[in-house]
Symmetry: C2
Subunit: 207 residues, 2 copies
């Protein structure tokens, strides 16, 4: 099983590594990162992490799962016709095409979300409509072969859904147990609806 | 604020990147990875990820937060006296010294957990006792300056605790909102107690 995660400069780190942690443990699966540009170093959006990515997206002609993370680096790619062409061509070969966070905007720009329900990071919800998609405020939204996740950490939940679809539920649960994914956030501010006015103000200051 | 995450070959990816996602967004903080050996490429335990780590641990003399992830790569380091000496010396300079998953075994091997309550990955619980630590089956265990997290994904919860201690609760909640960390695992098998016999059997097969 060939699972491809497209990376680009200024990707949000957990968008990519959360699903990688889950899907990388699927029996019989290989997960590879490909660079949306030339092979070589790719920097994350926080700026402390440099991944050495040995392959470029143009070298991939088909895969079982294509996953597109989000981050500030999605912006320039939304106008990159060669990349969007590749998304469309590769999507035609997959069992599942998935996005995390603002990765959904790239699926949208490629025309893959037209007329579909989909999700993305809460701050980008309004942008999905421009691509003909209906923003759906759920953690994971699946429509046939297209699976979108909400912001950043939602990729972990999505990958567990995918793991069950690609193998079976017992295997997905075993991977959840391996990752000890029994989350206990110390606070309950993980969605816009749950965030207090002070928290909403602070996130604006954090930029 | 200087936050250091020690990396080594065969580290578990989410152990390091979960906390990095949270702590990297702390205002005024810089998170840097350092290699437990020479600077250069460090490979994760799944085998698909190579991080280009520009600094080595020996170059760090002090930091505000020292974080040690887990993974198979902790095994050889448990006998690496130079690395354990560095953990002890650096711990003496920190506000908080933290581990995720089997990173706790490295804090233990360095003598930092003697007589303390601590946690680690469920599969490594029995090993903590050899270092004089009392395994405590909680998601995050803090004793003064030492904070340990359970397996792999628990580092995200721990980092939110640390974020509040290092800044304030409103900032930690804003970072949680940014990461849309409102987890909705599709299954409830994230701890040994919750896993069915079939899931426990499957995880043995996954190795």
């Amino acid at each position: 099983m060939d699972i491809v995660i497209a990376l680009f400069d200024d990707f949000e780190p957990l968008d990519a590594i959360g699903p990688y942690q889950v899907l990388g443990h699927l029996p019989g699966a290989a997960v590879r990162f490909v660079a949306a540009g030339e092979a070589g170093p790719v920097a994350d959006s926080i700026g402390g992490m440099r991944l050495d990515v040995p392959a470029r997206y143009a070298d991939v002609e088909a895969c079982d799962v294509l996953l597109v993370p989000g981050g500030h680096g999605t912006r320039p790619l939304m106008d990159d016709q060669a990349f969007l062409d590749w998304l469309r061509r590769t999507h035609a070969t997959t069992r599942f095409t998935a996005s995390v966070c603002t990765g959904a905007l790239l699926l949208g720009a490629a025309g893959l979300l037209d007329g579909l329900a989909a999700t993305t990071h809460w701050a980008a919800a309004g942008e999905l409509a421009a691509f003909g998609a209906a923003y759906t405020p759920e953690r994971v939204v699946r429509r046939d072969r297209i699976v979108t996740a909400a912001g950043i950490s939602a990729g972990i939940d999505m990958a567990l859904h995918l793991a069950a679809l690609l193998t079976d539920e017992t295997t997905a649960r075993a991977i959840q147990l391996h990752a000890e994914y029994d989350p206990r956030p110390p606070f309950d501010s993980g969605s816009w609806a749950k965030a207090s006015p002070a928290v909403r103000e602070r996130i604006r200051e954090l930029g």
